[in-house]
């Protein structure tokens, strides 16, 4: 099993390397020149040329890539071109906020979607199952930005229950609720819908299996059958479903942070794109990749750990 996990880690590292190349090429395809953008229209050709040299922009692309990669490995993400603060510092100030938002969303959506998925699978074909199915399809189909905008209009502007802008204040419970209710609910909607559907699908197949029938014929009570006989075998698929849903959160975060003007990582990245701040964009992109890879890795380790076949005899 350890060997499997080690191999899985190796795959993750290779994928990250490939991603770094893609991110580098992608950001270099963006139109415009950083030196021109930084110095504005009044810049003299000499000044532009000097800045280019200072930023290593004259070097060949492969060389710049290697420089950047070496920096990444040692934790040096470079300096923001727009604010002249180190990228690491910029990200550090925002990362916690983003993790807080994502963590709160996960803490709400994982239990809710597990409960919904499990009950829908157990009561398959009932009215409850059908209502859940319709509700989740509807929730998946509505785009994040629409949900976020409608939520702001309804709850912040019309009803004025919550502020339209969200700030990471967690000093007291009421404060937490007032700043996070809207963004967390918006993000959770899509996650819960997706994850509960996948949980249900994973569990339905197992509830049809011979060993669940055997558990029934042993006279076990329904709760024990689901929790002890069906769920452990669904853990792998469910963990993977959770990882995929939560990783879609990374994309959702961008829209939600922008709509609610929340000072998170995604907002930082969007701002960096508008100022053409390459090192910042690249670092943010790599962080999102890393987040995704870690989620999928955790899900895989979870499937490996819950499958006795992959454990040493």
């Amino acid at each position: 099993m350890l060997q499997l996990i080690a191999r899985r880690l190796g795959h993750t590292a290779l994928t990250l390397l490939a991603m770094s190349l893609a991110v580098f090429i992608g950001t270099n395809l963006l139109p415009g020149d950083v030196a021109d953008a930084l110095l504005g229209q009044a810049a003299t050709p000499e000044a532009t040329a000097a800045l280019r040299t200072a930023l290593h922009l004259n070097e060949s692309a492969p060389l710049r890539y290697l420089h950047w990669l070496a920096g990444l490995m040692t934790g040096d993400f470079g300096q923001s071109l727009a604010s002249h603060i180190s990228v690491a510092q910029l990200i550090g100030s925002r990362l916690g906020n983003s993790l807080l938002l994502a963590g709160l969303t996960a803490a709400l959506s994982i239990p809710v979607s597990l409960a919904l998925g499990i009950t829908a699978a157990v009561w398959r074909g009932t009215l409850f199952d059908r209502i859940t199915a319709i509700g989740t399809i509807a929730a998946v189909s509505v785009p994040d930005f629409l949900v976020a905008t409608v939520a702001v209009i309804l709850f912040a502007v019309e009803l004025q229950w919550f502020p339209a802008l969200s700030t990471p204040r967690i000093a007291s419970i009421p404060e937490l609720f007032s700043s996070f209710t809207l963004p967390v609910l918006t993000l959770s909607l899509a996650v819960v819908a997706q994850m509960s559907r996948m949980t249900r699908a994973a569990l339905v197949g197992i509830l049809d299996s011979s060993y669940v029938e055997m558990a029934r014929l042993k006279g076990l009570r329904p709760g024990r059958i689901v929790l002890r006989h069906a769920l452990p075998n669904a853990a792998g698929p469910i963990a993977n479903a959770a990882a995929l849903s939560l990783s879609s959160l990374l994309g959702g975060v961008i829209i939600v942070e922008v709509v609610f003007n929340y000072p998170g990582l995604a907002k930082l990245m969007v701002d960096a794109v508008s100022t053409r701040d390459m090192p910042l964009i690249q670092a943010c992109a790599m962080l999102f990749c890393l987040g995704y890879m870690v989620l999928v890795l955790l899900a895989d380790i979870c499937s490996i750990a819950t499958n006795p076949r992959l454990r040493p005899a």
């Binding site: 049809d208 011979s210 029938e213 014929l217 042993k218 006279g219 076990l220 024990r224 076949r309």
Partner: protein, 612 residues
């Protein structure tokens, strides 16, 4: 103590896709006295499992016990409320399922699953553990003290089936329902499991309901037989009476179709001497490349046009691998295959279209071999276009001819596989192979998934095709009786090697390899008392998997009753040619093997004479 069982007027309805309900079990009535074993026998779709599950008050999803009385030990099963179920189902009535591999939860250890039922009913985990180990001992499981720590995938099928029996007996049930508990097992394993089951049920005096399609197995286990067909009772009677004097024509047809190693083989005229259509020499194959796990070693064979070679062995013996190697699906890494004298490339991809056409394979599961989205006509037209570039009316005519050849009506061409019965699907599967116009058919367990009567009809068809078309066949099966009824030559495989290869007559006359003897002795006979008459397993031998041998010594050593310790297990086993012309791989001299009261040779003198 066993419970008295009474079923009267039982009707079970199933909901069809259209939403309408229809009965699948009609007015079934039978009873069992305390401690009696009743067998429910029938083919697939006869309602035997559905009826048996009703004894636990259980109906599969989509089914409903609609009417009738089910009384088990004075309890009206249909009157039980869900809250009463844990005190009844799994406690007073327990169930042993057909496939232990599917019925055990892969995520928990065997011990957790065996003791679960007793522990939730108040037994202490410690006491439950001790009781389970005791049951493992009495069911003759290897390493009974520690086998419970393993996971289901870590023990063999036969062992798993016995662990399931332990699980069923943990709560000292009054009634045990056994649903085809040995169908998925090899014959040699089946004997061990049947013995263990019967001893365990008898010892406790429990009543048992034994569900099976195999009359010979049932004859060993049951006091009373209920014959079911299409959800209706055909005949009920004492086992001996049903076997000797069946009153119902359907029961008679079941008895007639049961394969037996005593039935004289269908007389086929011996193939004319001609250059062999298929020759293989020193074939070797392994999974995972030449350095991987060897699965086939030093296989040689020779097949004349129109001849049938039967290949027999238990699961894992390499018989299906041989089919895959001959057809090039798994390229051999050593040895040669010649088709009509030409050496074939090892991989199917490197063979010419004509070479591929001449050798066709028919797989065991027609369900998975036939594309469910295509009509029968399209399934048969495809090889005609591919191999013969046929089209239009000529192709349609040929499809009709092919259907006629396998005795199917021509209008079946518009149907899809899902609309056909199991036997019809296997015939289409066969027609698909015949469409290529092959010289050689490789049949891999083609009758194993079929009911007895249907299987017998497919075997007849194969014999006819061979006569009419002069087809040569490699017929692979785990069933000695089936192989003997159709093959001219027989190869017996064990652990990837041919331990005996020779004519059918040589196999019948003996001497034979000790493994062939064990196989023959393990085929249940259609008479009561066969299992009791079997000699107990030889002292010191252990049933189970083949021995992993590093050198060329004998893989059968651990199970062999005539082994020579210090010789068979250490030195390479020689291949000797017997006076019958058969070659066997065994260290014992021919005279010694002849003395071995061979089951085949002794049985030939009919069961009237006592076996000495």
């Amino acid at each position: 103590m066993g419970a008295q069982v009474e079923v009267a007027g039982l009707c079970i309805a199933a909901r069809r896709a259209s939403g309408a309900e229809a009965d699948i079990v009609h007015d079934v009535s039978f009873s069992a006295a305390a401690g009696e074993v009743v067998a429910l026998i029938g083919e697939s779709g006869s309602g035997k499992t559905t009826t048996a599950l009703a004894l636990l008050g259980y109906a599969r999803p989509g089914c409903r016990i609609r009417a009738g009385r089910i009384h088990v030990g004075g309890t009206d099963v249909r009157a039980l409320r869900p809250a009463d179920m844990p005190g009844f189902r799994g406690r007073r009535v327990s169930y042993i399922a057909q496939s232990a591999a599917a019925a055990f939860n892969p995520a928990h250890t065997l011990m957790q699953q065996v003791t679960e039922g007793a522990i939730i009913r108040g037994l202490s985990p410690r006491a439950a553990h001790i009781k389970a180990v005791g049951l493992f001992h009495s069911l003759a499981l290897p390493d009974p003290d520690r086998i419970g720590r393993r996971y289901p995938h870590q023990v063999s099928g036969g062992q798993l089936q016995r662990v399931m029996a332990a699980m069923a007996l943990m709560t000292d049930p009054e009634l045990v329902v056994l649903d085809e508990p040995t169908t998925a097992l090899d014959v040699t394993t089946q004997v061990e499991v049947l013995r263990a089951f019967r001893a365990a049920v008898r010892e406790r005096g429990a009543t048992a309901v034994y569900v099976s399609h195999d009359l010979a197995v049932v004859a060993q286990m049951a006091d009373q037989i209920v014959v079911l067909r299409g959800g209706r009772v055909q005949e009920i009677g004492a086992t001996a009476r049903i076997l000797s004097a069946p009153e119902n024509p359907y029961t008679q047809s079941l008895l007639d179709a049961a394969p037996s190693i005593h039935t004289p083989p269908t007389a086929a005229k011996p193939p004319k001497p001609a250059p062999p259509v298929l020759e293989a020499d020193a074939l070797a194959a392994s999974y995972g490349g030449p350095v991987g796990v060897p699965v086939l070693r030093e296989i040689g064979l020779r097949l004349l046009p129109g001849a049938v070679l039967g290949v027999i062995g238990e699961s894992g013996s390499g018989k299906s691998t041989l089919a895959r190697v001959l057809t090039g699906l798994l390229p051999a890494h050593g040895g040669t295959v010649r088709l009509s004298g030409t050496v074939l490339p090892p991989a199917a991809a490197d063979r010419t279209a004509d070479q591929l056409r001449q050798m066709q394979i028919v797989f065991q599961m027609a369900d998975t071999a036939l594309n469910p989205a295509h009509s029968v006509g399209r399934l048969l037209a495809r090889p005609l276009t591919f191999y013969h570039r046929m089209g239009g009316a000529a192709r349609e005519r040929r499809v009709a001819e092919l259907l006629d050849m396998v005795r199917l009506p021509a209008n079946l061409a518009t149907r899809r596989p899902a609309e056909l019965s199991g036997g019809q699907k296997q015939r289409v599967n066969l027609a698909r192979a015949l469409a290529a116009d092959p010289a050689l058919l490789i049949c891999d367990e083609v009758t194993s998934a079929l009911d007895t009567v249907v299987a017998a009809a497919v075997l007849d068809l194969l014999a006819e095709l061979r006569r009419e078309l002069g087809l040569a066949m490699v017929f692979i099966s785990h069933d000695l009786a089936t192989v003997r009824s159709i093959a001219d030559d027989v190869m017996i495989m064990y652990a990837g090697r041919a331990v005996q290869y020779g004519s059918r007559a040589a196999l019948a006359r003996g001497p034979i390899h000790p493994y062939a003897d064990l196989l023959a002795a393990s085929v249940p006979e259609l008479r009561t008392g066969w299992l009791d008459g079997l000699p107990p397993a030889t002292e010191g031998t252990s049933p189970g998997a083949a021995r992993v041998v590093a050198n060329e010594s004998c893989a059968f050593f651990d199970r062999c009753p005539v082994r020579l310790p210090g010789l068979c297990d250490t030195t390479p086993t020689p291949t000797q040619t017997l006076s019958t012309g058969a070659t066997i791989r065994c260290t014992q001299p021919e005279a010694e093997l002849l003395r071995l009261g061979s089951a085949i040779t002794s049985a030939k003198a009919t069961s009237a004479q006592p076996v000495t």
